[in-house]
Subunit: 251 residues, 2 copies
DNA sequence: AAACTTGTTTATCTATAGTGAACGGAGAGC
DNA sequence: GCTCTCCGTTCACTATAGATAAACAAGTTT
């Protein structure tokens, strides 16, 4: 009862996580890995199967696509997605690059919509999560928080260094967040992946534009996103797209 | 123990389902709806929140995007998706129509991959599920099953009539399945939605090509998919795409 | 300002989730 | 072809912990 009010649900979640990524596993295997009795693992798997979440074939278990269905439904139900989606698509059209709608969740930057530059060009996965301090959209999210909240974030999540360019110290982060909130625009110059660049603009909400709803971002390879294009052209397009979303959200 | 070996997990699932589609709800609301005590609902929600699955803001709860992340990971981990994905994209490219990879799961046709004809043209949602007897890919799935298995399907799932064109009787279904397995090709002429058409070809697997892995489908509005294009041109393209996937699966 | 909401907490109790051991079937190896 | 082994499943038991109802604490509404 110390951690999770409903322990059984926690166990189920652990089993599901162990099967994440399409891994196929047996009962004994999972039981040893999670330090739970075979019978218990079996019960959880049987329950999950009845729920349509896992599939079993001759004694081996794997996750089915029910959670994908659920997840897509959640995403489609988000009002922010509903109003932002056309603009995110339009932005991909006008820039010829991949675009995304990013929302904060549990201290992470989550990709609520992703539009690829072209087919067979999956850059980032829909629903994928990245640390706030390393991405353009993430830093934007932090820039709209109070000093204390940013400090709390650093405290709990730390400043993982994904590449040499990832912001390293709390003071560097603070400086960058200030300039970001001044311009109302954020960049990522290889802070997640060396050869990747992105620009993000905030989607504000509420009477005084104080509430932060999410961010729109354009992203792509450094070879295409650099110089004047990255610094001037794309920012303009991203900003105006974000602005249009803000207006659409108002009604 | 009658239904679900782990009752607590079942309760959690019921709560999650009640919140599906991005619905926001309070504790009391859910408690009444599901006939569970307030305290219990609260415990489950608190657990789900700690797991990063639900988000709460001033007493109201909703599902976050963690399940989407999980679901996408499951999909990306499917070997069938990995090998079929390029072909599904290519088929969308060459036909100019939407395409999909469909797999059977728990007696339903699940869309494991969807490639839209163009941006802003979402026809079917990724992960969405349709009854086997009404879709082209679904009937294909049934066509590769034994007579008994088909009968069992009808028994448990029934033959929901989605439109006037949906197959109605078990004998009609049997007849159609025979001609489908003869041609190795299936059509849907408005059986799910009146103004929708689709063609699907099977992806077979195993030594003697007896194991059924999934189906590739082209789908679109009846105004574009009709006549020679629907009956001859598209079938050829779909069949060859499916064949290429089968070959890629072999190695 | 009081009378409703609502979410949260508490204390009690019983159902049940977890355990270990036994069962049965499939495969491997001699 | 037989045994041995491994694994998934089932069984019976017990202590745990999920579910309950009632009290509590905030926040709205009237």
């Amino acid at each position: 009862m110390t951690e999770y009010p409903v322990g059984a649900t926690h166990t189920t979640a652990r089993i599901v996580n162990a099967l994440a990524g399409g891994r196929e596993a047996g009962v004994t295997e999972l039981a040893e890995e999670l330090s739970v009795s075979k019978a218990s693992v079996h019960n959880h798997l049987a329950t999950l199967e009845r729920l349509g979440i896992v599939l079993s074939s001759n004694g081996r278990y794997r996750l089915g696509l029910r959670l994908l269905d659920l997840g897509m439904g959640i995403r489609d139900g988000m009002t922010l997605y509903q109003t932002a989606s056309p603009e995110v698509n339009g932005l991909a059209e006008s820039t010829g690059e991949s675009t995304a709608l990013v929302v904060p969740e549990h201290g992470e930057a989550v990709h609520a919509a992703v539009e690829d530059a072209e087919r067979n060009d999956r850059r980032i996965r829909l629903g994928s999560r990245l640390p706030l301090h390393a991405t353009a959209a993430g830093k934007l999210i932090l820039a709209y928080r109070s000093r204390d909240e940013v400090e709390a974030y650093v405290e709990t999540h730390g400043l993982d260094r994904l590449t040499d360019r990832t912001v390293q110290s709390p003071s560097d982060l603070r400086d960058e967040l200030r300039s970001i909130s001044d311009r109302g625009l954020a960049f990522d110059r290889g802070e997640v992946w060396e050869d990747m660049r992105s620009v993000a603009a905030p989607i504000r909400q509420g009477e005084r534009g104080d509430a932060f709803a999410g961010a729109v971002a354009v992203l792509g390879p450094a070879e295409r996103l650099s110089g004047k294009r990255l610094e001037e052209d794309l920012p303009g397009l991203v900003l105006s797209a974000a602005k249009r979303i803000e207006l659409d959200l108002a009604d």
